[in-house]
Subunit: 318 residues, 2 copies
């Protein structure tokens, strides 16, 4: 059966809305997983989501010299977490997969099991965090491997506007990923909206020149309530302009300030993307397990979803 | 089991959103009903609704001398239509019931069957369209009858701001209906937002004086694309200010104009109701079966829902 999300993604008049989450660390016993998933899904009771996104967290220390502000820990299998959330919520789940550290055979097996045993229909493949280090399976080969299998996954890719700001070629990566089968893209957390707007604008222009419809770009946003979270964001490679940093660190209510910043960022990106015909979506996550940041992520979700929904509804009237 | 809507209504931080609909006329054969309900529910595929509202259409000719612009026709049993929609969509349905023309015994039987046979949990009782004519069961007695039955309906009442504009006592009717068990109110279609804002403001003041939390008010909006629909609205008792009438009739795109008018109306009402702590909801309907008015009602739904969602999300940040 075709992914239900693929049908939604194909309708540019609508937004699509996700909550991003990571599997619990592997030291957590199976008995506790039910409780954790229930708690997560309860938070979704009061918001309308099209689905969830489950990350595949890797140790990215090869990418950067600085120590990771929150230490890296192995997690439970994202496929199992994804299935648990899907079964408990009856919502589709997009499952990330980091491909670089395993062989083609192992990746083939991962895909087959994801489809057969974990009922996964929507995946995002992620390449190596850096070009250094031991890459057993480059992303391009992973796409080729997937393309040879008779499994009708709804395939997405990641997009990193920060890369565009430096190398000016991220829009071409999106085109290449589209050719490799990607039907949608999910951004890294946005704190530098101009970089994202620039990327989307050039992507739209290139699509237009090639006579292709742009794929949907799902924008990730995350609240930031402390200096340590900010440090973690920067460690992850999220670009935060200095004025934005100063606003958050100088505010008496940094979480609320970060929500305002995210909302302005979305407004700026919408102004570029919607007239250019690039369908948008949102993915809201909390980077930490702090209760106030998790609660803020739900506020942020409601605010940004309503902002995009309203803009789309206004646009439909023009 | 408690109504799922009652839980949503009890949370003032969220809006609640409905599509209103009438059962097909009784001359339509049973075989066609499936098709009609499918068509209706397909339109809901691209919007997020908390549920549906099924009206109980009465011949209101006792209320007014003028001929009805669209002739009155008997419909299928609203309970059966409600159950069909609920079963096909898995969404809750609020079912209207006009009580005045039948005896207490008949009403008791209606309620019991609604609960047992039609799985109805949410009802709105409607009194006589005018104080003239043969009233077998006044609304107050209907509430008393319901109160004696051990059925835990989520009960709502109608509210007519136009009555308030004339008699200045509609807010007291809401208080009385609350005492009789009403947990929410559904307005007549709003085209005179000041009358609705006045009613809500006085209702909120009275609640405050009595130390009661105001009940949720679900505002009905409907697009209007032609002189005939406008005439029908006025026949139904909907007050349309002359400037609004002129805007609609003078526009080259009257449907779009009416959508703009509804949106401004909602903004005005929100400005009064939300600071006063009156939780709101929306009910969008098309008064005719014309395709363009039905399509416009879906546009209107998306626009007004996003408008209210955004305001509520902004309010949560204050």
């Amino acid at each position: 059966m075709k992914s239900e999300l693929a049908t939604k993604f194909a309708d540019p008049s609508r937004g699509v809305y996700f909550i991003g989450t990571t599997p619990p660390r592997s030291s957590i016993e199976d008995e506790q997983l039910d409780l954790i998933s229930q708690k997560l899904l309860q938070r979704l009771d009061n918001i309308e989501v099209d689905g969830l996104i489950v990350y595949d967290i890797q140790d990215e220390s090869s990418r950067i010299d600085k120590p990771r502000p929150f230490p890296f820990m192995e997690t439970h299998d994202p496929r199992a977490w994804s299935k648990r959330l899907k079964d408990a919520s009856n919502k589709p789940v997009i499952t990330y997969k980091s491909v670089s550290s395993r062989s083609t055979e192992e990746f083939t097996q991962w895909l087959q099991e994801a489809w057969d045993d974990f009922d996964i229909k929507d995946i995002v493949l992620v390449g190596s965090p850096s070009s250094e280090g031991d890459i057993k399976l480059p992303l391009s080969e992973a796409y080729a491997t997937l393309g040879k299998m008779p499994l009708d996954f709804n395939l997405g890719g990641v997009t990193i506007a920060e890369r565009h700001a430096k190398k000016k070629d991220e829009h071409l990566r999106l085109i290449n990923k589209s050719e490799a089968g990607c039907e949608f893209f999910i951004s890294q957390a946005v704190y530098n909206p101009q970089a994202t707007a620039d990327l989307i604008s050039q992507y739209a222009q290139t699509c237009k020149a090639q006579g292709e419809a742009p794929k949907r770009v799902i924008l990730t946003f995350t609240p930031c309530g402390s200096a340590k979270t900010l440090e973690f964001m920067e460690w992850l490679g999220i670009s935060v302009p200095v004025a934005t940093k100063n606003r958050i660190l100088g505010s008496e209510t940094p979480l609320d300030e970060s929500i305002k910043i995210c909302r302005s960022a979305l407004e700026l990106i919408m102004e570029t993307a919607l007239p250019d015909g690039v369908p948008l979506g949102l993915n809201i996550e909390s980077l930490t397990n702090r209760k106030e940041e998790i609660d803020a992520s739900i506020h942020l979700y409601r605010l940004l979803k309503a902002t995009l929904d309203l803009k789309l509804a206004e646009q439909a009237l023009l």
